[in-house]
Symmetry: C2
Subunit: 233 residues, 2 copies
């Protein structure tokens, strides 16, 4: 589903160069849940941004839909419109911050990607309501983000990332604002997606969540320094 | 240091009324570290906002500096300028989101409350540099928030909340973006503050952090439903 080759990314601020990612190689298979862990500043958000074509690596390839011959669509080679199309229909995104439009209600925020993808009104409505109910926010659909708690905003974001049934979900700290119980509810949703053949790449600081993944990649100072199979859940 | 009597707060959205806080009573003593835990949407942020005079309760009192006769300064009765003064010099604040000014560097963000409090330039510089070093960001002082990772932004926020040596720190999820190791470093800082006679009221989803507190208050549906003494650390 996703293959990353020799990804490198640095930021230059004044005369300081920060090597945010160095020689990253990884692959995600269909139906796999992979956790990325690592200290603050280790490059996790930078990695997610490069994989979602929101930031551009200095070098390397990010290939989606890899077939048996090792060929697929390298997102770093796509035009802007093609990348947007990938993000709209194939990749679900959950950012670490600033996910929701403050001027749209919870319902409208979740609906927006489906609207852009030209999903018919009736199917859109059913999907949006089903997802908001799934994350426990059926009673809050008319609220604006400023009228929602931190965890409620995060749950609206999770619902929105799933509205177009993406083949892979890239999630940066999807449960960072949630209490233990709500986190477990969200993990159930993710495991269900996985059983339905979707893939998930998830950054997390929560060791318990990382344990629910099939594999855990540890990032430190921009490099993957370890990979281990997690215990069964 | 802080006494809260019968605090009530509701939000009215259209024709829905949400009782975010109901009959909250609590007190914090000098040198005490109190954790507030509870599910998403239970009222934790609303409580912190009322205690910091950033939101106004429908009823109840929020009294600081309570003396032996039970008298002190009720922040709900203060004029705007007095409240601002309290927040500048007596109360340190860490919000769940949007803490930093994007147009100021890490250094300038931490310095701002000291600048407003008219601290002399030399003492300001020493304090700001000392605090940024304490949170592990000595190398990032010229960076803007958009050039910092989520956890780095959170650490700048923690440094800023301490710059005017507040008698009480109100922190809403201060380590929500941090990995385990960085979280432990921050908790060491908080325990040090506590030993120096400062008080801390901290919202957290992290049970391990809650265990480091002197007391844990559990909030559910706007009410404090439990209070327990935490284990020793
Ligand atoms: N401005 C607002 N208008 C309407 N309702 C609000 C507003 N702010 C908060 N609420 C509601 O009040 C309740 C408490 O919100 P609060 O932000 O205090 O929860 P919280 O405990 O901090 O949750 P979380 O752990 O998710 O951050 C929630 O149900 C929320 O939807
Ligand atoms: N736009 C930018 N300009 C300059 N440096 C940046 C920029 N964005 C990130 N960095 C730096 O790159 C490094 C990696 O940042 P990144 O946001 O990927 O870390 P992270 O692993 O997500 O951290 P956290 O767990 O704190 O969210 C950090 O040292 C950060 O300061
Ligand atoms: Mg990050
Ligand atoms: Mg909150």
């Amino acid at each position: 589903v996703l293959k990353v080759n020799n990804l490198n990314k640095s930021y230059i601020t004044g005369n300081i160069t920060i090597q945010a990612l160095e020689d990253i190689n990884l692959e995600i298979r269909k139906g796999e849940l992979v956790a990325i862990v690592g200290p603050s500043g280790s490059g996790k958000t930078t990695l997610i941004n490069c994989l979602g074509a929101l930031d551009f690596p200095d070098a390397g390839q990010v290939i989606y839909n890899v077939n048996n011959n090792g060929e697929g669509h390298d997102i770093t080679e796509m035009k802007n419109q093609e990348q947007k199309n990938m993000r709209l229909k194939k990749i679900g995104l959950i950012f670490q911050f600033y996910n929701l439009f403050p001027v749209l209600t919870a319902y409208e925020n979740v609906e927006l990607p489906a609207l852009i993808a030209k999903i018919k009104p009736k199917s859109r409505k059913n999907k949006v309501e089903e997802l908001l109910k799934l994350v426990g926010l059926g009673e809050r659909i008319e609220h604006y983000p400023t009228q929602l708690s931190g965890g409620e905003q995060q749950r609206v974001t999770i619902a929105r990332s799933l509205v177009n049934d993406p083949l892979i979900l890239l999630a940066d700290e999807p449960t960072g604002e949630l209490d233990t119980e709500t986190t477990l509810q969200i993990m159930k949703i993710f495991l269900q997606l996985k059983d339905n053949g979707h893939s998930i790449l998830m950054v997390t600081h929560n060791d318990r969540i990382a344990q629910a993944a099939d594999r855990i990649l540890t990032l430190t100072d921009g490099k993957i320094i370890a990979e281990r199979k997690a215990g069964k859940h």
